[in-house]
Symmetry: C2
Subunit: 331 residues, 2 copies
């Protein structure tokens, strides 16, 4: 893994992925006590940064392999990113999802041209099902984070951050990244090492699911005790990746963990101050910037909003609990 | 008014206004039956395109005049756009607002450094108050739309649309613009005339407040019967401007009017498919693209989302009435 792979991925993504802007609000700056520059990957195609990695991986395959098709395991953002990338390349895509995944996610993935195979989480082995189908049909598996081309694709976000931060006059800052398996965090860290060495990536996770923070502190991979039961489901993984962890250990600053209520509050502030829809897992880095100001140093902090694929009911809960309160406080 | 003024405004705005991206969703394309390219000015600084006109006008003043200060009448987006522009130029700003304006809007405008003067709508004459203060302090009035530099500032959106549509492979399309007094619509129309003659601006208004559509059809300025009682308050004005109407009459296609429920539905789709917060008035052009497909022709349509300054309660109503239904329909 190196910057050349990320630059090559950026070349393949040009004209396909959105170059998301870098946003700023004086109201958020005031809360944080410093400039907060926000990179809204919720605006990315399919509603999350995952499109970058999906496109990078699909476009990197040789045409013959790609034509046989790809397969991915995901009930969420990775599924949609891979499905749209495959569809645009004319490649068949099989997405393996739990049968109890939200119907809207299954429907969205199908609408992007993918064949969705469901399995029973209680009685069936996802990996075995996937391996059998992949072998039968000659499909190529695209992993959600532990894949060099996926990491390279997510790293293109870091190239853009390096350029946009320089335009905003910021060359020394922490870059807070919503972190699951570490594909986005490690990709951004590699891009910043080469393009903006004064910027440092730092993973942000939900409290109780901070495997990356604890692994970085311990210097070895530590698993989460559990992997369900969080509103921040988009960024919950069992443990850091075998490819991503060494990169993060070499390049990232310490991890930060925030509470679920803080993530919901950050969603409400992204609504009122940025006009953005963030999902709970996509809002943890913004929450860290706003509510854990002592965890970072310097005059500016850069924040990823990694995705916006949230059900209306969860979003309304965030607004009901936080946005209306905030409006009332100013009365 | 000509393209040179818009280009000059673009030069003054460079590095200050956000160059908003052009977004697209396959799900919205399917609803509309054609490509829908969305220009999200809700992401603009202060949450609406009004920042462009405010900055253009404030930056165009000679330094001595500017240093005496500016004044504007507005309870909404124009107030915030002008206030932020004045603050950044170190110029005092007085914003005259009705005393019963939402407290959050008064507070936001004050937080941007402006002095807010309130008046009683029932008993006091806004224009008389403003004129007296302007004369006493030597302030310059910045009108919300009938001002050449304001129109030029809004027109910078059109320059960006011309460039971004070409990048997206679109050179023939209607550009649907949320329209109040016509500052944004006329500015975009002028920019497109010079930079993308295959693109044609068309105003979109709320039903019952379609003064611009009726004025265009009649070939003369016609007033609205009423100017209150709409959720789309951000784009309700008594009549088209004296500067903006002749430009629209020369360059724009016919107006379109949509219902309030359609605007709320478009807000819910902007939430689920674009991850954007649109205000009701800012969503009428998207509503026209999605729900009035017969009103436009061609393979693509371009849509402005003009602002996102909406109270949480109104946004939650849009989601409750439309987003959850939509999710259920896919089950």
């Amino acid at each position: 893994m190196n910057i050349d792979m990320i630059e090559a991925a950026a070349g393949r993504l040009a004209g396909h992925a959105l170059r998301t802007p870098l946003l700023e609000s004086p109201f958020l700056n005031r809360i944080a006590g410093r400039r907060v520059l926000i990179k809204p990957e919720c605006l990315q195609r399919t509603g999350s940064f995952k499109f970058r990695g999906g496109w990078s991986a699909v476009s990197a395959l040789d045409p013959e392999t790609r034509a046989r098709g790809i397969i991915a395991f995901s009930s969420g953002n990775h599924a949609q990113g891979v499905a749209m990338a495959a569809q645009a390349h004319g490649a068949p895509a099989v997405i393996v999802m739990p049968a109890d995944a939200p119907a809207i996610k299954i429907e969205n993935t199908r609408a992007l041209g993918a064949e969705v195979l469901t399995y029973d989480r209680a009685t069936e082995d996802r990996d075995a099902i996937g391996a059998r189908i992949a072998q039968q049909r000659g499909l190529t598996l695209i992993r959600p984070f532990d894949d060099p081309q996926v990491i390279a694709g997510q790293g293109t976000t870091g190239i853009e951050i390096a350029e946009q931060a320089a335009e905003a006059g910021v060359d020394q800052a922490d870059v807070l990244v919503c972190c699951g398996g570490g594909g986005l965090t490690s990709g951004i860290a590699l891009a910043l090492e080469a393009r903006a060495p004064g910027l440092r990536a730092r993973p942000v996770e939900p409290e109780g699911f901070d495997d990356v923070a604890r692994s970085l502190a311990a210097g070895r991979i530590i698993r989460n005790d559990r992997t369900s039961g969080s509103l921040c489901d988009a960024i919950i993984t069992p443990q850091p990746g075998e490819l991503t962890f060494p990169i993060m250990a070499r390049l990232c600053g310490p991890g930060i963990a925030v509470g679920e209520a803080e993530a919901l509050h950050a969603m409400a502030l992204a609504f009122s101050r940025l006009k953005l829809v963030a999902e709970p897992g996509g809002a943890v880095a913004l929450a860290a910037a706003l509510f854990r100001p002592d965890a970072v140093a310097g005059d500016a902090v850069i924040v990823l909003i990694s995705g916006g694929n949230v059900e209306a009911s969860v979003f309304m809960r965030a607004l009901a609990e936080h946005a209306t309160n905030e409006e009332e406080q100013t009365r």
